[in-house]
């Protein structure tokens, strides 16, 4: 047995675990050589990894409130960094991002920048102060800072809207993977994936989720690096893809010329014809801003910094979080470049008759993520070919090849002809990414409903047992609703995730920042800030997405319309001032700040008690002096 218990031996425990996982992967590789069929290898990867997460969940089950909500505040900075990394990197990062880089080229880098730079804001503006504040949830802060249940309730509304949008996208990601590797329909796969999510968070709350997320981080980073390291070694002879893909970019640019691609992979802010567009630049910068500010506002991330033992460790922990996230994010553009190079150099120009089997596997009915649309009746085999007219010459042209963004990462090992064990590994990694984020999000939602709504607002006398049972029941209900929505709207991840960031950014950022950094700001300002920011964001989100033509009729020439495919439906989406609605937070964030600053400036300033409270959370040492109603 280990001396000194689990927390004293974290390095040893996770070291053995990592070694075990690598050994397991090699074993599967040997089974493949021995002729075990592919689908069985896929089963192994999916069920064994879910089994490990379930085991950790069972081992860390808890009946203590502080363990359930904030992992007992015992998570060291380094491991909290890893857990945050897994919490953070979702299906969108793992499966979606390299895909959008594959298509967008330079423009896709907005995601890479936006999803890393936000941590600087978390580090300097939020994390240490929220840790010092030392309660359980983000709405707790709004209640303590802006005087009671009204701001608390508003923060819960924003939290639930943002997190639910986000979690739907995660379950969609789980659905894609389980559907492909277990060979079941997408809708059913969403519910199978749900089981993997629930075994963990349901039993042990934040404690179980934290230690599972560390395990999931290890799997997802190995899974992300392995295929692209092998590809780099194959193509360039050096197994450091992050450095070698510079050369691959040059090869892609050369192939673009022969294939007649107008918009170069590396060209910034180019329209379809390859010309510079200032509007594309503003969209790029707006998206970065929304993603960064959203990072610093999403409760499932902020609550991770409630779990460290000290303020000092909360700060260090942000650095480690970003470091672990960085490892994946600076690899993603390399992943996209190698995938594009493989498709351009070895797939395009092949006879349709001799296409590799992965094209059919990924293109089949019910998954429909790849299409080879040469023949006139190609749509019968590849639903993705709908609307694409091939020239039926028996050769695959670039314009006849279709691949969904979400399939790029998962299919790359097969595209490059790597052994199936690598595909299984990548699937396990994608699953780990989606499950870990879904766990964190569901917990954030369930905690907000059980702690903030039920315990703080409805029944403050509820005992521990009752609170934890309520939380678990709510977790289950929210999870089932999310899975149902995911199964219904289909498998498109990135735009949903971007909305979640915009919603959180518009609703919570101003309140958090000004709450900590502007002592004088009164209660009314905080409340109106949330209402205005969230309101503006939701107004533009709903009208641009669902009432595009109406918005155009109101705003006239300030709005352009464009037909977009969302899952299975096509909608006329509005672009106010030419801004894509994935950056809809750009309307909400400034609104929140302006309203909160105006009301704060002209309204009644915060009470002396409140200002003492803020001063007490600005300094790491000493007591937190709660103000107003919450004063014990």
């Amino acid at each position: 047995m280990l001396k000194g218990g689990f927390l004293a031996n974290l390095g040893k425990v996770y070291g053995i675990y990592t070694g075990g996982f690598i050994g397991f992967t090699i074993l599967i590789g040997l089974m493949e050589l021995a002729g075990v069929p592919n689908y069985i290898l896929g089963y192994f990867f999916i069920f064994l990894t879910i089994g490990i997460y379930a085991l950790i969940g069972v081992l860390s089950r808890t009946a203590e409130v502080s363990e359930y909500y904030v992992a007992g505040r015992t998570v060291p900075a380094f491991y909290n960094g890893m857990a945050t990394g897994a919490d953070w990197m979702s299906a969108a990062s793992f499966i979606g991002m390299a895909g959008s880089l594959y298509f967008g080229g330079y423009d896709g880098l907005a995601f890479v920048l936006g999803w890393t730079g936000g941590y600087v804001l978390v580090a300097i503006l939020m994390a240490p102060y929220l840790r010092k504040f030392g309660q359980f949830t983000v709405p707790d802060f709004f209640s303590a800072r802006y005087g009671g249940n009204l701001p608390r309730g508003l923060a819960v509304i924003v939290l639930v809207c943002a997190s639910l949008t986000y979690v739907v996208a995660q379950i969609g990601g789980v659905g894609i993977i389980t559907s492909r590797f277990l060979g079941i329909p997408f809708q059913a796969a969403c519910f199978v994936g749900l089981i993997g999510i629930l075994v963990c968070s349901l039993l042990g709350g934040m404690k179980a989720v934290t230690w599972t997320q560390v395990a999931q981080y290890i799997i997802l980073i190995i899974a992300y690096l392995v295929p692209v390291v092998i590809l780099s070694a194959q193509v360039t002879g050096i197994p450091v893809p992050q450095i070698t893909y510079g050369g691959v970019l040059e090869k892609i640019e050369a192939l673009e010329k022969t294939l007649g691609v107008a918009k170069s992979h590396v060209a910034p802010f180019a329209n379809a014809k390859g010309e510079y567009s200032a509007l594309a630049m503003w969209n790029f910068l707006a998206l970065i801003l929304c993603l960064m500010v959203g990072t610093a506002s999403l409760p499932h991330i902020l609550m991770r910094y409630f779990t460290t033992p000290s303020v000092r460790q909360a700060r260090d922990s942000v650095g480690w979080s970003l470091f672990f996230i960085f490892l994946l994010y600076f690899t993603a553009p390399a992943y996209a470049a190698f995938a594009k190079y493989e498709v351009y150099s070895s797939l395009i120009g092949q006879p349709i008759a001799s296409l590799p089997p992965w094209v059919a596997n990924w293109g089949r009915e019910g998954l429909a993520l790849v299409g080879a649309c040469d023949a006139a009746n190609a749509v019968a085999q590849f639903p993705l070919c709908k609307g694409v007219v091939g020239n039926a010459d028996g050769i695959l042209q670039l314009s006849e090849f279709r691949i969904a963004a979400d399939a790029v990462v998962l299919a790359t090992p097969e595209i490059a002809g790597l052994p199936y064990v690598v595909s299984g590994l990548v699937a396990a990694g994608g699953l780990a990414a989606a499950l870990s984020t879904a766990d964190g999000l569901l917990l954030a939602i369930a905690n907000a409903l059980s702690h903030d709504i039920y315990y703080k607002m409805i029944d403050p006398k509820a005992d521990t047992k009752r609170r934890l049972i309520t939380s678990r029941i709510l977790l289950l209900i929210v999870a089932v609703i999310a899975a149902w929505i995911a199964g219904t709207i289909g498998n498109s991840i990135l735009f949903l995730v971007s909305w979640a960031f915009s919603i959180a950014a518009a609703g919570l950022f101003a309140g958090l920042v000004l709450g900590i950094w502007w002592k004088r700001c009164g209660n009314a300002a905080g409340v109106w800030g949330i209402i205005a920011g969230f309101g503006a964001c939701m107004f533009f989100l709903v009208t641009t997405e669902f009432q595009g033509p109406w918005l155009k009729s109101v705003m006239g020439d300030w709005v352009t319309l464009s037909k977009l495919t969302r899952g299975t439906v096509v909608r006329e989406v509005a672009y106010p001032f030419g801004i894509n609605n994935i950056s809809v937070g750009i309307f909400g964030i400034p609104t929140a700040f302006i309203v909160q600053l105006l009301v704060g400036y002209f309204g009644r300033p915060a009470s002396q008690d409140m200002q003492d409270f803020i001063e007490s959370i600005r300094v790491p040492a000493g007591e937190v002096k709660m103000a107003g109603l919450e004063k014990a």
């Binding site: 300097i124 910034p268 700060r315 600076f330 300094v619 000493g622």
Partner: protein
């Protein structure tokens, strides 16, 4: 940790502490803005420089700025810890 009782800072010291903390915050915020936004506005021009095959504008968005962000987070932790210790308000 909580074992040694903490002496609250005097009013002037508290103001000085927050002044130093705010200065660090603004410094990092400015660097963050330069590498998060400003530099990318010039990506088309920067792309004419090539290093190891990377167009430089592309490189900054794909890797360079990210390295700066990681550095900023660790630097913030280190510099703020130093301030905390100087004022005797570290919580460890």
């Amino acid at each position: 940790m909580a074992a040694t009782p903490h002496q609250p800072l005097s009013r002037e010291r508290a103001q000085e502490y927050w002044g130093r903390t705010s200065k660090l915050m603004w410094t990092i915020l400015v660097i963050w803005f330069v590498f998060g936004f400003l530099i990318h506005m010039f990506a088309p021009q920067l792309n004419s420089i090539r290093i190891l095959g990377f167009p430089f504008g592309f490189y900054m968005a794909a890797q360079g700025s990210l390295i700066v962000f990681v550095f900023l987070c660790f630097w913030n932790a280190k510099a703020q810890n130093k301030i905390d210790e100087e004022f005797g308000v570290s919580d460890e």
